[in-house]
Subunit: 234 residues, 2 copies
DNA sequence: CGAGAGGTTGACTGATCTCAACCCCCGTGG
DNA sequence: CCACGGGGGTTGAGATCAGTCAACCTCTCG
């Protein structure tokens, strides 16, 4: 079972190259020690030496940076199968913590080093993951820098829905694992603004929210229009 | 001379792992074809197949994404020695173009692939560059998401100054290679706002601007204070 | 039952955007 | 020589989107 877990197979190819499973399993790296996390529990902190590479087995993590007055910017959320803390530099540039009960698997950086040297395609695979994360960062920068609140929230909901689809879940009903505060810190706005925006979408009939953390997309095309189209050359 | 160029040696270790020179030279990859670019000339576009890896020999490039209505978000600027378009996925996620007269050196992705497989430490080095760029993206996300206009502009000026220092230039006089529009598109604001902010700093005595594209930092500590300190754990 | 976390809503404020005029510089061509 | 036009930059006045502050609501958990 260290080569591949049948349970994980359908998680492969999810969201391009973001998944470690797709890389580790073909390479026989189903190893590494697991750790269970409670919500808000830190995996690593900004400035910590980079000792391990982590992948999410279960639950959701996020990475973030803080300003000295407490303002927090969440860079990314990490779902099951995704890699956190990629890189090889001396220290982590961000903090990473669980936003829900979670399980992470960690691989010592020395093991990663050996893997890269013994199997160059492993290094290649890590590069694919890194470049995928860079692409997502670009998209996020576009959101924060140029999109309005409505556009950011609708783009966020759509990307959440796409992740659910790729994970084989229902395509319209999103179980939102993060709080309004987390969404706000991710989207560069205040939690009140998130709340207002989500409820505005509800009044417009674009979504339904039976519970605060369960959002059902009712009019996906309208949401996509509201997200403000990206300019994809031809 | 393909192993190491004496002229480039003092560029090594600049800004962490961002430089290709530090990697390519030890590895004997001083090769690749050069191309001269005029301002606003595109190196590659979003959605283009990733055929080459580029490094800046001279001048400054930027990478950006566009919305369909023309709004533009610049992700990063790239100075001499830095790598543009890193990654191995199928297509580029961003556009890249020159913002000044520039020269880029390009290495076919197939060559990169062979390098990674023949010399695993090359893959490792590319990972270092990618993780450095991810760290910079995190910092930029923090700027866009959580900092005010004043904070963003002062943080930007300081980071420009640090780049000049690392490049061995004067530590206080910054020759700003980009226009106010470029700065605005990078910092997530309007060019008028950039202008107002820069001039506000001038009235406050924090900087001097003999010419619009020459900024002299007069009170670095005050600028750093205005940037709003990052929370670096102990 | 009380306390706290998470969420919603309202009224007000204000930072930033918008629109517009204007300036300087520089190359071009009549 | 000078008129012209365009790019880049500055400045002002008004509009507005999102932030701020505050009240209140629901749930859950001791």
């Amino acid at each position: 079972m260290s080569i591949a877990s049948v349970n994980d197979v359908h998680h492969d190819r999810i969201n391009g190259n973001r998944k470690l499973a797709a890389i580790t399993e073909p390479l026989g790296l189903g190893i590494g020690s697991s750790r269970r996390l409670t919500p808000r529990e830190l995996v690593f902190g900004e400035g910590d030496p980079r000792t391990h590479l982590y992948s999410v087995v279960e639950g959701v993590l996020c990475s973030y940076k803080l300003l000295s007055d407490g303002r927090r910017q969440i860079d990314a959320f990490y779902f099951a199968g995704e890699v956190v803390g990629i890189g090889v530099g001396g220290t982590h540039a961000v903090n990473a913590e669980a936003i829900s009960p979670a399980v992470v698997r960690s691989v010592p950086i020395g093991t990663v080093d050996r893997m890269v040297h013994s199997r160059p395609e492993f290094g290649w695979a890590l590069l694919e993951i890194a470049s995928q994360q860079l692409a997502e960062a670009s998209e996020h920068l576009l959101n924060l820098g140029k999109r309005s609140v409505n556009e950011r929230v609708s783009a966020f909901l759509i990307s959440l829905a796409e992740r659910c689809e790729h994970a084989g879940q229902d395509n319209a009903a999103i179980v939102v694992p993060m709080t309004r505060t987390d969404m706000a810190d991710f989207l560069g706005m205040r939690l009140e603004t998130v709340s207002r925006c989500v409820n505005r979408f509800k009044w417009l009939g674009l979504i339904e929210t039976p519970q605060p953390n369960l959002i059902i997309l009712k009019d996906r095309p309208a949401l996509e229009a509201m997200a403000g189209g990206e300019s994809r050359p031809s």
